[in-house]
Symmetry: C2
Subunit: 232 residues, 2 copies
């Protein structure tokens, strides 16, 4: 099989020297890539700026990814040739539209003015004012494009929450699965991730929920499910 | 001699999974550390999250740095024991105070309301609204503390601008040098940095300006000046 894995985090530029980034290390994406490679499959890994990477090897192609648009462009490019997508990358929910000193904003300010205001273009934001304001806009929901572009691909998505009940986490994961037409969602909670210990739930269209306890277990389960669907 | 080098970029958290970071690679700080080590000096390297690091070796201590406050705390801790400070770290000029959906803000909005508003605490910012607004405040000017805490230390600072004239760059560097009571400022322009090619000017209290053309040249000049002052 040929597998497309996204891992690490996207980085959205604020100016030429600064950006908003996710702290995702890409360690689970790396493990999953290695597990697929061990089983003889081909892997294309779309990796964020600071993602951990498997060692270079046959059957592995690594593509560095910058911002959300860059990720979307590369998914569109590689999707036609793959059988499985494991979308584990932490995508920025928002990207900067502008950043400005408060004194440059009109006063008083309406919501519409905030949205439509644009400061003069700066290559590097000057650091004169005591405060700055940044407007951010929602990024495109990357996962929702995958099944639209290729309905027959097997799609694994992830849902990460922080400090919620198991019941709530599973509900949110199930509704994300339906929204994105994903085959599986791996649901996890930041407070249950510490090093190799990584509690996660594999949610599918059945009522069975597989409980996984470590990163290697998660990686192995993804490979097992992919092989079942494609060979079983 | 004992040298304190700061390198890479600071990262200011937005929430538990996101932060604002500088793209600085720390490559010049790494080279400078290696040059001092080659000359038999001791180096303490305060390194940002994604900074390039020299290989582990005798006489080198590496301390990982998170945000601006963390950097300040560590400079204060190590400063008493060092003779030279090379402050090459790209410090965030601003750090997030809060991030909120536009609908949660009072309307219309004054500058004072923007500054004093605080949204309900969230561990991970929810991604429901189409737009978010972030208020950022100035971080403490790290370089200005160094000579206040230890007037006799030899201090190298950096000034990075983007796309300005040589004359303007040198003026800004000179005024930064005076403001921070630094002995030297290495002035450079983003548009003149490409890989090893790195045009920079060493500005001091004399009218002589040393022009440097590569990262290794900059590192060598910093070590040379340090040795001149301390042994010459």
């Amino acid at each position: 099989m040929k597998i497309l894995i996204t891992a690490g985090g996207t980085t959205e530029s604020i100016d030429t020297v600064r950006g908003i980034t996710n702290f995702a290390t890409g360690s689970l994406g790396k493990l999953t890539a290695e597990e697929f490679l061990t089983h003889g499959h081909h892997v294309i890994l779309l990796a964020g700026r600071f993602a951990q990477l498997p060692v270079e090897q046959e059957n592995l192609t690594i593509i560095p990814i910058g911002d959300t648009q860059d990720l979307l462009d590369n998914i569109e490019k590689f999707l036609p040739s793959v059988d499985v997508v494991v979308h584990s990358m932490a995508v920025s929910d928002y990207r900067p539209v502008y950043m400005t000193g408060l004194d440059d904003l009109p006063q008083p300010l309406s919501k519409e003015q905030l949205i439509h205001f644009r400061p003069k273009v700066q290559k590097k934001i000057s650091s004169k004012s005591e405060y700055q304001m940044m407007l951010l806009e929602k990024t495109p929901k990357v996962i929702s494009f995958i099944k639209k572009w290729k309905p027959e691909v097997l799609l694994f998505g992830f849902k990460l929450l922080s400090g919620v009940s198991e019941e709530h986490l599973l509900e949110v994961a199930q509704s994300k699965r339906k929204e994105a037409s994903a085959d599986f969602i791996i649901a996890n909670d930041l407070t249950n991730i510490q090093g190799e210990n990584h509690l996660a739930f594999l949610v599918s269209d059945s009522t069975d929920i597989t409980r996984l306890r470590t990163k290697p277990q998660i990686a192995q389960e993804i490979v097992k499910k992919s092989e079942e669907v494609h060979h079983g």
